[in-house]
Structure formats: structure tokens, C-alpha cells
């Protein structure tokens, strides 16, 4: 019977119902979409940052992450190779040796990074091979040929086929220098990276840098990227205390935190908008309840208990909230679903993204049913809560007082 009354009341006060319905619907849709947008943009930015070069899991010698000196290298790369080969859950892995050197061409000298990679394996681990824009990607047995970032090439004023000289120090701190021939040029979109990095086949690098059987990093691509953290931990135990195994959450802790901060700001802004919206819902409920204050007084006078009136009124707002949350959830979810398949393109903001080291210009939303349900539940509760005060207020009046209320 309560339900019936509530339903009648909703249809009887159409205008108020429609406004409340619309407001809650729009708010729910907004929240669902904004959450999908924030989650989507954050995971896109993170996975881009991870996949371009750093990789999901990095294995280093003990202490290397805090103090990246040649004293903390991985000195037995072969042993790691064997162990990783046997570990389950790994899609691909490979060794890297990173050094910082001075490149020079003719009269021009620029500091940069020279990294040894295993070209075939590296192609699976990062987006280096896909970022080729000119010439060719490396392959094993390439000798002194390098694969160089387009900005670095531009600074050195070199092109495919040209010779670049480098000066640096080998793994045994000896002086190392050689002439390298440019085989290919890449562009990842990360300006700083493209302006500093060049790559060389590890077998050749090991000869000139005395780095045979050693490495600065092993990069691991998990079969399930979501499981990176667990896999990193299990690799860590497997390899023993002489090595450190870190997942991307640790490697890029600052970026992860920056994304959280962005969410915090997003929710604060939404929070302010929602406060206003729920004030309005409260006002409308207030109007609707007080419009029939005499009716409620009469109900009380003929013996209806306050609790029954409360149930009737709260059912009414529950019904309204339910319908609008469902509607809003549906709208928000379909927008989230659509923009996940058709990412929003921000071509004109690329400059700003670049500054933050993000090579992203298209951002998909994240369609996650559980999160959407959570947001809908939050909205439902908030919307019912905001009607609570007016209902209690009206219900607290004495029947006679209510009947005479003008």
C-alpha cells in the first residue's frame, strides 16, 4: 500500500518529480562518465609511460636503483637468463645495459644515453621497434650500427648512414670510445627520451664496453600486465637477495601518485557541483513535502502513525532516486562504453602532454561495470539522504499544526 501511495504521489506532483529526476539523472551520468574518464586517462597515461621504454618489471642488481653505479650491476646475466626462462607467467624478457656518454659529430657534442639491447627480445618489451620513423630497427649481429632518437639525431645534425662518435666509460671504468653508424631513427613522442637515447646491439656493446655477461637491467613483460606486482615479487624471491625486482608501480611511483592527485582534484570539483545539486534536490523535496503538509496532517489526524508517513515519503524519494540513478547510470555507462571504443582525441593538447612526459593524444574512457555500479549506489544513497531532512521536518509537526499550516 505504501508503494502504491508513493507512486501516486510521484505522479501527482509531476513537475517536482521531473526536476528531481532530471537532476539526479544528470548527476549520476556525470559521475559515471567522469570516473570512467579519469580512470581511463590515468591508465592510458600510465600504460603508455610504462610500455614506451621502462617496462612492467625491472630486475636490477642489489642497490642499483638507489645508486646506479657500475658497482651494483648484474654481473651474471646468464644465470638470470636461465632462471627467468624457467619462471611461469613471463611473456618475454631481455637484458639492457644503460650508460651515459658524450656523442659527437664533427664539432658538435651532446650528452646522451647509450643503451645495449637484445634487439629481437626488446621488440616485445618496449615500443622501440614500433617507433621507427626512418631507416631500420636493429637486429642481432648488427655490429656498430645504432638506433637513435630523432631529437638527438637533429641535435647532432645526422641522418641514417652517418657516423657518430661516442666517448664514455666501460663497465670496468675504463675509457671507451668508438665510431657508430646510424641504422635507424625512432620517435616515441617522449621529447626528453627522443632527445637523449640511442641503442646498440648488446653483443657488440659488450666488446667495446667490457660488459660481457653483465647488465644494468632485465626487463620482464608479464603475460598478464595486471599481475605485474605479484610476478615482480615472485621473481624477486626466485632470484634471491643479490637482485631487486620492481614492478612499474615502484619504478614510476611519482607518476602513479600524480595520477592519484589528479583524481583527488577531479573528485573535489565534482564534490562541489554535487553539493549544490543535492541542495537543490533538498529544496524541491522540501517544497513537495510542505505542499501537502495539510494532507499529512489529516492523515495523522485520522490515525496514521508517523512511521507510516515516513515510510510512505521515503519510499517516494527512493523510487524517484532509483529510476533516475538507473537512467543516469545507463547514460553514463553508454558514454563510457562508446568512448572506450572511440577514444577522445586531443591533438591540440599534445604540447601539454609532452611536457608531462606523456606521449598520448587519444584517450579512451575506462568502461568498468563494477565501478559504475558503485557510483550509482553512491548517487542513490546521496539522493535519498538529501530528502531526509525535509521529510523528518514535516513529520515532526503536530497534526493540528500541520492542518492549519498555510
Amino acid at each position: 500500500m505504501h508503494l502504491k501511495l508513493a507512486y501516486r504521489n510521484i505522479t501527482a506532483y509531476k513537475k517536482r518529480s521531473i526536476v528531481t529526476l532530471l537532476l539526479t539523472t544528470v548527476t549520476t551520468a556525470l559521475l559515471v562518465f567522469m570516473t570512467a574518464w579519469m580512470d581511463g586517462s590515468h591508465s592510458t597515461i600510465l600504460s603508455n609511460a610504462v610500455e614506451i621504454y621502462p617496462g612492467y618489471i625491472q630486475i636490477t642488481g642489489k642497490g642499483f636503483r638507489d645508486n646506479p653505479s657500475f658497482d651494483n650491476l648484474i654481473f651474471d646475466a646468464q644465470a638470470i637468463n636461465d632462471k627467468l626462462g624457467k619462471q611461469a607467467g613471463i611473456a618475454a624478457f631481455g637484458a639492457r645495459f644503460e650508460t651515459f656518454v658524450l656523442y659527437s659529430v664533427g664539432e658538435k657534442a651532446v650528452g646522451g644515453m647509450l643503451t645495449a639491447i637484445e634487439p629481437e627480445k626488446e621488440a616485445h618489451l618496449s615500443r622501440l621497434a614500433d617507433s621507427l620513423i626512418k631507416g631500420e630497427y636493429l637486429q642481432a649481429g648488427d655490429g656498430n650500427q645504432i638506433y637513435i632518437g630523432n631529437e638527438l639525431a637533429r641535435r647532432l645534425k645526422v641522418d641514417v648512414g652517418d657516423i657518430v662518435t661516442f666517448i664514455g666509460s666501460g663497465a670496468d671504468y675504463s675509457f671507451a670510445a668508438d665510431n657508430l653508424k646510424i641504422k635507424g631513427i625512432f620517435q616515441t613522442g617522449l621529447f626528453e627520451f627522443d632527445a637523449a637515447a640511442a641503442f646498440l646491439d648488446k653483443s657488440y656493446f659488450d666488446q667495446i664496453m667490457a660488459s660481457d655477461n653483465s647488465a644494468t637491467h632485465f626487463i620482464v613483460l608479464p603475460e598478464e600486465p595486471e599481475q605485474a606486482e605479484q610476478l615482480a615479487a615472485s621473481i624477486g624471491t626466485n632470484l634471491g637477495p643479490d637482485y631487486e625486482s620492481a614492478s612499474w608501480n615502484q619504478i614510476m611511483a611519482a607518476l602513479v601518485k600524480a595520477m592519484q592527485l589528479d583524481s583527488v582534484f577531479g573528485y573535489i570539483t565534482l564534490g562541489i557541483i554535487f553539493t549544490v545539486i543535492f541542495f537543490v534536490i533538498m529544496i524541491y523535496t522540501f517544497l513537495a513535502v510542505f505542499a501537502r503538509i495539510r494532507e499529512l496532517g489529516i492523515l495523522r489526524a485520522i490515525g496514521t502513525k508517523p512511521s507510516e508517513i515516513f515510510i510512505m515519503l521515503i519510499l517516494e524519494s527512493c523510487l524517484l532516486a532509483l529510476v533516475s540513478v538507473l537512467l543516469g547510470g545507463l547514460i553514463g555507462a553508454s558514454a563510457a562504453w562508446y568512448f572506450e571504443a572511440n577514444p577522445i582525441v586531443f591533438a591540440s593538447f599534445e604540447e601539454q602532454f609532452k611536457q608531462y612526459g606523456m606521449a598520448v593524444s587519444a584517450i579512451p574512457t575506462a568502461f568498468m561495470p563494477l565501478v559504475i555500479l558503485r557510483d550509482m549506489a553512491i548517487m542513490f544513497i546521496l539522493s535519498v539522504l538529501s530528502t531526509l531532512y525535509p521529510i523528518l521536518k514535516a513529520n515532526r509537526m503536530q497534526p493540528v499544526e500541520a492542518m492549519h499550516h498555510v
Partner: protein
């Protein structure tokens, strides 16, 4: 007449005290939120821009032609003394600083990184961009013999150096020979200008001249003006006087910052628009109901000869009072809150790693502009005005005089 309108409006608002209070609260809260969003977000962007201006670009920077696309030591600004004289005479210019820049390698015994070596005159930089305020550790000096080096905190972190650590700088000199020199770290800077924090090392200007054999000429002259409005003018004047130089404003040197500002402004507009539409809806509801409730009352007024205009004005006044009181309260709370954040700052140090990633300060000092209050006032005024339009039409259509005869 006028006082009558006010009297009636006030009385009818007071009669529905709780309802009026809710509306006023709603307006006040939305205004508070809006002011906070505007002031704090604008403060953030301003600080980023300020950091870039103070630590690097100035309001204007003078470079040799094409230095930006090919930052080579050989591309130098030569007529330095003529330019200095021109800048000193220009009353619009507050300060300027000359720097020599060259890409090179910064190395310790264990690590090395590519770095931008910047030669500067610390005393001048201090007057120019108050650079010493950015000092995180150590002191703002190159030591007595000028053998000190100050570097960005992220670079210091990757090189694992502390105050007193030795750093070897290598770079090409004017004759394209590689020159090296040893320095001791005297200071570590945190400018929150990411490019500098990650890559810059600062050494004494004269030391740099000797090391890289640069007898005269500089790579950059950064200029700070008194009034930002005069910026374009100063740029134009300098350009006519020194047509061989590239003279660029900060927003040309840091387009990403300008873009952030544009995005932020747009974002603020959208949010304000949304909040005021919702708030208008709230006022609308209350006015509509209060008009509908009083149809008989208005009918009687009309029957005894009151003009409809008067009734319209009463309703308008009610709505306006609600808006005005809400505005005053909202402005007071919001303004006080912003003022607090302007003086003491909004401290989000818990997220300082994240702010470093974005190149932002962890403590944001809010901005307060009269325009915030002015636009908010206009918005409230519009909201109150538009929200009575429909109730008035409803009132006219419902034919109040006939309504008297009904129960």
C-alpha cells in the same frame, strides 16, 4: 512605493523562513565552492608560470636568431652592452639577466648525465628572479673562488650528489674542443621548472667564459617588466631596435603553460556555468511554489486595485533578496577562505612527489581577483532574474482574480 515592495517582499520571505534559508544557503555554498575552485586553480597555474618566468624565460627573452631550434654555443647575442644600455634606460623594464648556456655532460666518479650548463651572475639573478628563494639545500653562492656549482634537485638526485660533492663538467668550447673542469656542489635548487630541475647546472658566468672560451656575448638575456600589459609593447620596441635577435615572450617559450592556463580558464567557465544553472533551478523552484501558493493573495491585491507591475516587482524583489543575501554570505565565506589560502597557502605536501612530477608547488597560494566576485554577482543576478520569468507567466495565465472565487 519602493519601500512597500521591499516590505512585502521581506515579509513573505520571512514567512517561509526555513525555505528562504535553504535557498540562501544553497547560493552561498555554491558561491563558496566556485570561488575556491577559481582561486586555487588559478593560483596553481600562476605559480607554474611564475616559476618559469623567474627561473628561466623572464617575461621576455632575447636570443640570437634561430638559437631556439639549434641551441649552439656559437649562436650568441653580441651587442650586449648596447642591449644592456637600452634595457637600463627603459622604465618599463624591472630587471634583466644574462646567461650563457651550453649542453654538456655532468659526471661524478660513479654516474654521468647530460646536462645544460648555465653560466649566470648570482647577484643579478637574485634581483631578477629572486632565485635564492628556490634554494632547497646549501647556499646561494659559487664560493669564494667561483668553483661552486648549483644544480637542479632531480639532477642532484640522479647523480647522487650532496653539498660538497665533486662534479666534473665537460662541454665543447667555442673552438669545438671538449673542455672539462671540476666543481664542488654549493647549492641545490628546486624551481619546479621541470626542465631546469632535471637538467640544469649553474656555474659562475665568468668561470664559464674562461672554461668555454667565450670572451663576450651571451646565449640569453631574460627580461622582467613592471607591468605585464606593457609586454607586447616592450617586445615590439626591442624588436625594432635589435632586428637581428629572436625576442620571445614567456608564452612563446613555454607554450604548454599558456595552454594549461587556457584549459583551466575554460574548465572554470564550464564549472561556473554548471553550478549557476543548477542554483538557478533551485531558486526557480522556490519562487514558483511561493507564487502558486499565493495566487489568491495576489488575486485579492489585484481586485483591490494593485497594478500587476507592483506584484511583479514584489516577486522580483523576493528573488533578488534571496540572491543578494546568498551572494553576500557566499562571498564572505569564499573570500575569507581564499584569503586564508592566499596568505598561508593550501598545503598538499602529502602529495609532494606527485606535484614534483607535474612541476608544481606542493603549497598553492590562492589568487583573489575582484572579477571573481563581479562575475559571480552578475551570474546570481541573472539567475534570480531568469528564475522569476516562468513563475510570472504562470501567475498571469492563472488569472488570479478568478482564483479568489475558488476554494
Amino acid at each position: 512605493m519602493f519601500s512597500l515592495i521591499i516590505k512585502i517582499a521581506r515579509a513573505s520571505l520571512a514567512r517561509r523562513g526555513l525555505r528562504s534559508l535553504l535557498v540562501i544557503l544553497m547560493i552561498a555554498v555554491s558561491l563558496w565552492g566556485l570561488l575556491l575552485i577559481e582561486g586555487v586553480y588559478e593560483g596553481m597555474i600562476e605559480q607554474m608560470i611564475n616559476n618559469a618566468i623567474r627561473s628561466d624565460s623572464g617575461h621576455l627573452s632575447l636570443f640570437a636568431r634561430d638559437y631556439r631550434s639549434d641551441p649552439d654555443l656559437s649562436r650568441q647575442v653580441h651587442e650586449v652592452s648596447a642591449i644592456k644600455a637600452a634595457l637600463e634606460q627603459d622604465t618599463r623594464v624591472r630587471s634583466f639577466a644574462e646567461r650563457i648556456k651550453q649542453d654538456g655532460l655532468a659526471a661524478t666518479a660513479h654516474a654521468s648525465r647530460g646536462a645544460v650548463i648555465i653560466g649566470m651572475d648570482l647577484e643579478k639573478e637574485e634581483q631578477h628572479g629572486r632565485l635564492a628563494e628556490y634554494l632547497q639545500k646549501g647556499e646561494f653562492s659559487f664560493g669564494k673562488k667561483g668553483k661552486g656549482i648549483i644544480l637542479g634537485f632531480k639532477l642532484a638526485d640522479t647523480l647522487r650528489v650532496r653539498i660538497g660533492s665533486k662534479i666534473i663538467l665537460s662541454a665543447q668550447d667555442m673552438h669545438a674542443e671538449v673542455a672539462s673542469a671540476a666543481f664542488r656542489v654549493t647549492g641545490i635548487l628546486k624551481t619546479n621548472n621541470m626542465g631546469l630541475d632535471e637538467r640544469a647546472v649553474f656555474i659562475d658566468l665568468n668561470k664559464m667564459r674562461k672554461m668555454l672560451i667565450v670572451p663576450e656575448g651571451v646565449s640569453q638575456i631574460a627580461v622582467i617588466v613592471h607591468e605585464q600589459d606593457q609586454l607586447a609593447e616592450v617586445q615590439e620596441d626591442l624588436h625594432t631596435r635589435f632586428p637581428d635577435l629572436d625576442i620571445l615572450r614567456w608564452d612563446e617559450l613555454y607554450p604548454a603553460l599558456m595552454q594549461s592556463k587556457v584549459i583551466m580558464d575554460g574548465f572554470n567557465m564550464v564549472i561556473s556555468g554548471m553550478i549557476f544553472c543548477v542554483a538557478a533551478l533551485g531558486i526557480f523552484g522556490v519562487i514558483l511554489v511561493s507564487v502558486l501558493e499565493r495566487i489568491r493573495e495576489f488575486g485579492i491585491m489585484l481586485a483591490i486595485g494593485t497594478r500587476f507591475g507592483l506584484i511583479r516587482n514584489i516577486i522580483l524583489a523576493e528573488s533578488f533578496f534571496l540572491g543578494l543575501i546568498g551572494f553576500v554570505f557566499g562571498s564572505l565565506i569564499g573570500g575569507a577562505n581564499l584569503y586564508y589560502f592566499k596568505i598561508y597557502g593550501l598545503d598538499l605536501s602529502a602529495f609532494s612527489d606527485a606535484f614534483d612530477e607535474f612541476g608544481m608547488d606542493a603549497i598553492t597560494y590562492a589568487v583573489i581577483r575582484p572579477s571573481y566576485f563581479l562575475t559571480a554577482f552578475v551570474a546570481v543576478l541573472l539567475a534570480t532574474f531568469f528564475s522569476v520569468l516562468i513563475p510570472l507567466r504562470v501567475l498571469k495565465k492563472s488569472n488570479p482574480i478568478e482564483a479568489i472565487n475558488k476554494v
